[in-house]
C-alpha cells in the first residue's frame, strides 16, 4: 500500500506516532480506538451563459480520533497533523471511557485491498485545459440540440481523497480515491412554457473517462432532451396505479425503500421498519438486491471502507427473503456479526456509520417491452431526482423527473414532475415483473444520512410494481 507514503512524506506521520496516539486514545480504558487521516484536493469548473464563470480549487487535511467504550463513542478531530495536536485529539476522545487503560494496541496488519480505480500519483489539478474543453463542449451540444434551449450550465468537479486508517485492533489501511463528475443543467423555453432538464455522471475515474461514450455531448443531450420533453408534459396522474420503472437510476427506489432500512445501526437499535425481519419475505420472489462496494470505477465503490475494512458484495434480499444488513465495525461487534465493509464517513470531522456503496437489483427474465405491454393504465418512470425515507415508519418517496403515461400497453404522453410514495417493507412485494436489462446509474448519486454526504451508486433492471401511489394532480 503505497497510498500511506503520502501521509508519511507530506505530514511526517510515522508508525510510531500512530501507535502512541492509539495508546493515548485507550489510556482511559476504551475498548477500541482508531485514527482516520484524510487529505482532499478538489477542483471545480463552472460554465454558465456560455462563459466559464467559476474555477476553484481547495485542499483540506485532518485527522479524526475515535474511541469506543461499550456502546459509547468519543470523537475528536484536528486539522493540524502535528504530534502535539494528534495527541490532544486522542486525549479528548479517550475521555468517553473512565478508568485505567485495559486494551493495548495490536500490531498493524495491512488490509488486503483490490485496485478498483486509478490512483494518480499527482493531484488532479494538472489538466485544466481538458476540463475546460469538457464544459464548453457540453454547452455547445446542449444548444445545438434544440433552439428552445435558452440556458445551459455545465460543471466539472473532481477530487482526490487520500486516507490512512490505523486502529487499536491492528487494522491498518490506506487508499487514494479519485472521484469525478460532470453535470449539465438546462432551461428550455417556448411561447407558453419553461422547463428544466439535467443530467450528469462520472465515477472513480480520471478525466479520460469523459472522452468515451459518457462524454459531455451525452450528458448535454440528455439534459436538453428532458427539458424539451417537459415543455409538452401533461399533469401527472394522482393515486394508486401500476408503475413501471426504467433501468438504471430508478434504482434509487431500492436505496430508499430497503437500503437505508437495512443499515445495521437502525436494526441494532430496532428503530428500522425492517428490524427482526431477517429470513422473512420482504419482497416478491423475483427480487434479489445486493450492495456491492467492489465494482471497478463506480462512484459508490471503495477499495477499503472508512474504518479500514475490506469492502464486499453483500446480499440484502435474495429471492424476496431478507438476508442481511450493511454493517460497520461498531454495529457488527454489538450484533455479533461481521462488518460488511460499509463503515463510511463524509470526512475526518465525522463519526463513521453503516452506509450503502452501490446498491442494485439483479436482472430477471422479462423483456422490457413485454413489461410495458402488460400495463393497461399506469406510469412509466425512467428518471428521478432524489428520494427520502423515514426509517422507522418505512415510508419513502422518490421524485420522477422523466415519466410517461402508459395506456393500453403503450407509452404515451410525458408527465410533469411527480413524487411517488410507498412503504419500504411492502413496496417490493408488489414487484410482478423484472426485466433482463440491469443497468447501473451514470454516477451522480450522493446520499445523506445524519448530515453526512457520501457518493453512492444505484441500479435496477426495468421493474413493474402492481401498485404504487403517484402524487400528481391529474386523473
Amino acid at each position: 500500500m503505497e497510498h500511506k507514503r503520502y501521509f508519511f512524506e507530506k505530514f511526517s506521520i510515522t508508525e510510531r506516532l500512530l501507535e502512541s496516539c492509539l495508546s493515548e486514545a485507550l489510556s482511559a480504558g476504551g475498548d477500541y480506538a482508531d485514527l482516520y487521516f484524510e487529505s482532499v484536493a478538489a477542483t471545480s469548473l463552472g460554465l454558465d451563459e456560455q462563459i466559464v464563470k467559476s474555477a476553484s480549487q481547495g485542499v483540506s487535511a485532518g485527522c479524526g480520533v475515535r474511541v469506543v467504550s461499550g456502546e459509547r463513542t468519543g470523537y475528536a478531530y484536528t486539522d493540524e497533523l502535528s504530534p502535539e495536536r494528534l495527541h490532544r485529539a486522542a486525549k479528548t476522545a479517550a475521555l468517553i471511557a473512565s478508568g485505567p487503560a485495559k486494551q493495548t494496541v495490536q500490531g498493524f496488519t495491512e488490509t488486503d485491498a483490490p485496485n478498483l480505480y486509478p490512483a494518480p500519483a499527482a493531484d488532479l489539478d494538472t489538466d485544466l485545459a481538458s476540463k475546460l474543453d469538457l464544459v464548453m463542449r457540453a454547452d455547445r451540444a446542449a444548444r445545438k440540440y434544440d433552439p428552445r434551449i435558452t440556458q445551459v450550465r455545465a460543471s466539472y468537479a473532481d477530487e482526490l481523497r487520500r486516507i490512512l486508517i490505523a486502529a487499536s485492533d491492528g487494522t491498518y489501511a490506506s487508499d487514494t480515491q479519485p472521484l469525478a463528475r460532470m453535470s449539465v443543467f438546462v432551461i428550455a423555453k417556448d411561447a407558453e412554457r419553461t422547463a428544466k432538464g439535467s443530467s450528469g455522471g462520472g465515477g472513480r475515474v480520471e478525466i479520460g473517462y469523459f472522452t468515451g461514450a459518457k462524454g459531455p455531448e451525452h450528458f448535454a443531450e440528455e439534459a436538453a432532451r428532458t427539458a424539451i420533453l417537459q415543455l409538452s408534459a401533461v399533469a401527472a396522474p394522482a393515486g394508486e396505479m401500476e408503475v413501471v420503472l426504467g433501468p438504471g437510476w430508478p434504482g434509487v427506489l431500492l436505496h430508499e425503500a430497503v437500503g437505508h432500512g437495512l443499515e445495521a445501526d437502525f436494526n441494532r437499535k430496532k428503530t428500522s421498519a425492517f428490524a427482526g425481519l431477517i429470513g422473512r419475505p420482504v419482497a416478491s420472489s423475483k427480487v434479489t438486491v445486493v450492495d456491492n462496494g467492489r465494482m471497478p470505477s463506480r462512484r459508490g465503490s471503495l477499495n477499503v471502507d472508512d474504518e479500514g475494512s475490506a469492502t464486499q458484495e453483500t446480499v440484502l434480499i435474495e429471492n424476496g427473503v431478507l438476508k442481511g444488513y450493511l454493517s460497520d465495525k461498531l454495529s457488527a461487534r454489538l450484533m455479533g456479526i461481521a462488518s460488511t465493509g460499509n463503515g463510511r464517513r463524509e470526512s475526518y470531522q465525522q463519526i463513521p456509520m453503516p452506509r450503502m456503496t452501490n446498491t442494485y437489483m439483479l436482472a430477471g427474465e422479462d423483456a422490457p417491452e413485454d413489461i410495458i405491454r402488460s400495463v393497461k393504465r399506469g406510469l412509466y418512470a425512467v428518471n428521478f431526482g432524489g428520494g427520502q425515507v423515514d426509517i422507522t415508519s418505512g415510508k419513502f418517496v422518490f421524485s420522477a423527473s422523466e415519466a410517461y403515461l402508459i395506456e393500453d400497453g403503450k407509452v404515451t404522453a410525458p408527465v410533469r414532475d411527480a413524487t411517488l410514495i410507498g412503504n419500504g417493507p411492502e413496496a417490493l412485494k408488489h414487484v410482478s415483473m423484472v426485466g433482463n436489462d440491469l443497468a447501473l446509474d451514470e454516477g451522480i448519486g450522493t446520499c445523506g444520512k445524519d448530515g453526512q454526504s457520501v457518493p453512492v451508486g444505484v441500479g435496477m433492471p426495468t421493474v413493474k410494481l402492481d401498485r404504487m401511489t403517484v402524487g400528481g394532480t391529474g386523473r
Binding site: I51, G58, Y75, A89, Q388
Partner: protein, 460 residues
C-alpha cells in the same frame, strides 16, 4: 477544548496579508474569507451516552479578480493549511486559475459606496453556550429523552436525544478596504422518541429547541414532552383516498413554502429565466394576505449578520408585499445582471463565487389562531411532515410525500401517512386562504400555520 490558536486580530491581519499577496501576485481585486469554529455534541440513547464529540477547525478562502478589457476573470481557492507554505499555495493557485476562466463583463466587487456593516450588539455570540460542564450537557440530553419516554407507555424505543453547542468566527476582507468579523454561537437540545402501536407499527418524530444563548434554550423537559406528543399522535396512521381538499400546513412545514418563495425570488434564478417569478415584479403573485420578508438584521436571529459575504450591510427586504412581488433577492452579480442593486444577500462558501442567501426569512403572521384555521375546515388534511425534494421552482410544480392528521368538521380525527400532496406553487400562493397568528422563529426561516385550498391528495 478549543483549537483556536490565533487571536482575532491575528486572523484579520492574516486576511489583509493574503489580500496584499494576491494583489502583488497579479490579482486586480481580492476577497478573503476565514472561518473557524468549535463544536461540542453529546447524544444519549435509552439513557446511556452514545457519542461525545468535541473539536474545532478552520479554513481560509481566497477569490481573485483579474481585470481584462471588458470585465474580470475570477477564480478561487480554499485551504485548511494556515502555514506560510499553505498560504503561498492558496495565492499562487488562485491567480493561476484565473488565467483559465472567461472574461465576465458582470463580474466585479461591489461599488465603494455600498460597503458597510451593522453596528451595535446583534446578540449573535454568547459565551454561555459552553458554560455547562460535560456531565451537565449529557444530563440535558438525558433529561430530554427521559421526559419524552416517560410521557406514555407506548413510547418504547428511542432514536436518541442530544445537546449540541457550537461557536463560529467569520472574518472577511477585500482589496477595496472592507474588513469585518463577527462571532456567533449556537446551542440546541433535541429528542426523538419512537412509539409502537397495537399492531406493532412504529412511529418516530422529534422536537428541538435552539438558541444563540444557553439561557434562552427551552427546558429539556418541554422539548421531550413535545417530541412525545408529536410522536404519539401519529400512531395508527392510515391512508386516505385520492381527493382534492384544503390542506392546512403546520408552521414546521409551512416554512418550506416560504423557502420556495425565496428560491423563486433569488436573482440568479430570475436572470436565467429559471423561476416561475421571472418577469412578475410588481404583479400579484399571492393572496393579498401574504407578505414575505427577508430580514438579516433581527437581533439574535439565526439568519442575522452584520454584513453579507461581499461586505454589504445586512438589511430588511420585503419580497412579497400583500400578495404583490415587490423585490428580488440579490447579490452584486445578480443585481448587475438585472440592472438592480444588491439587497445585501450575498452568501459564500470558502471557495466559489458568491451566491444568494437568505437572512431571517418569514411569512408575516395573520390574525387567525391556528385552531380557528383548523375549525374552519370541513374535510381536509393538517400536514405536519413533508418528504422528498418535489418542488420545481422553474415551473412551480409541487409534489411531496406527506403525513399529518385528518380534519373532519373542523376537528382533528386520525393520523394519515403514505400520501402525497400536489399542486403548482403559482396557484398555491394565490390559494392561501388563511394565515395563522402563530409565527415563532425556530431557525432562520419561519412561518405561521397556513391553509391552502385546491391541492390534490394522492393516496389509496
Amino acid at each position: 477544548m478549543s483549537t483556536v490558536v490565533a487571536t482575532q486580530t491575528d486572523l484579520q491581519q492574516l486576511a489583509h496579508s493574503i489580500v496584499a499577496k494576491a494583489l502583488i501576485s497579479g490579482a486586480s481585486d481580492a476577497e478573503v474569507t476565514i472561518r473557524e469554529g468549535d463544536e461540542f455534541s453529546a447524544s444519549v440513547r435509552m439513557g446511556d451516552v452514545e457519542t461525545l464529540k468535541e473539536s474545532g477547525s478552520r479554513g481560509v478562502g481566497l477569490r481573485v479578480l483579474v481585470e481584462a478589457e471588458n470585465g474580470y476573470r475570477v477564480a478561487s481557492t480554499s485551504s485548511s493549511d494556515f502555514t506560510a507554505d499553505g498560504i503561498e499555495h492558496l495565492v499562487r493557485g488562485a491567480v493561476a486559475l484565473a488565467q483559465v476562466t472567461s472574461v465576465d463583463g458582470f463580474a466585479g466587487l461591489p461599488d465603494g459606496s455600498e460597503y458597510g456593516q451593522l453596528h451595535g450588539d446583534l446578540e449573535l455570540y454568547h459565551e454561555d453556550v459552553y458554560s455547562l460542564p460535560t456531565e451537565e450537557r449529557i444530563a440535558w440530553a438525558r433529561r430530554a429523552e427521559a421526559a419524552a419516554m416517560g410521557a406514555d407507555t407506548r413510547l418504547v424505543n428511542s432514536d436518541g436525544a442530544s445537546f449540541d453547542a457550537a461557536t463560529g468566527h467569520r472574518i472577511f476582507a477585500n482589496s477595496r478596504g472592507f474588513a469585518g468579523e463577527y462571532r456567533s454561537s449556537y446551542c440546541s437540545v433535541a429528542a426523538s422518541p419512537i412509539a409502537q402501536g397495537a399492531n406493532g407499527e412504529m412511529q418516530r418524530d422529534y422536537w428541538w429547541s435552539q438558541a444563540r444563548a444557553f439561557r434562552n434554550l427551552e427546558s429539556p423537559e418541554d422539548v421531550g414532552r413535545e417530541a412525545a406528543r408529536r410522536t404519539l399522535r401519529m400512531l395508527d396512521a392510515r391512508r386516505v383516498p385520492t381527493q382534492r381538499v384544503p390542506v392546512v400546513f403546520s408552521p414546521e412545514v409551512a416554512r418550506g413554502i416560504v423557502g420556495s418563495v425565496f428560491d423563486a425570488a433569488t436573482g440568479d434564478a430570475i436572470y436565467r429565466g429559471a423561476s416561475f417569478f421571472t418577469g412578475k415584479l410588481g404583479e400579484q403573485v399571492a393572496a393579498p394576505s401574504v407578505t414575505v420578508v427577508d430580514d438579516g438584521t433581527i437581533p439574535g436571529g439565526f439568519g442575522t449578520s452584520p454584513f453579507d459575504a461581499e461586505g454589504l450591510p445586512s438589511r430588511r427586504t420585503v419580497i412579497v408585499d400583500k400578495g404583490m412581488l415587490r423585490n428580488y433577492i440579490l447579490n452584486t452579480y445578480a443585481g448587475r445582471k438585472l440592472g438592480m442593486k444588491s439587497t445585501g444577500n450575498a452568501g459564500r462558501g470558502l471557495a466559489g463565487n458568491p451566491y444568494v442567501d437568505a437572512g431571517n426569512l418569514f411569512l408575516e403572521a395573520g390574525t387567525h389562531p391556528a385552531d380557528e384555521i383548523l375549525r374552519g375546515v370541513q374535510t381536509g388534511l393538517y400536514v405536519t411532515r413533508l418528504m422528498g425534494q418535489g418542488v420545481n421552482v422553474v415551473t412551480g410544480d409541487y409534489s411531496r410525500g406527506a403525513a399529518g392528521l385528518w380534519i373532519e368538521n373542523g376537528e382533528l380525527t386520525h393520523p394519515v401517512q403514505e400520501i402525497t400532496i400536489a399542486g403548482n406553487l403559482k396557484e398555491m400562493l394565490r390559494n392561501i386562504t388563511a394565515i395563522g397568528s402563530d409565527l415563532v422563529f425556530r431557525g432562520a426561516t419561519a412561518a405561521p400555520t397556513i391553509r391552502i385550498d385546491g391541492m390534490t391528495i394522492a393516496g389509496a
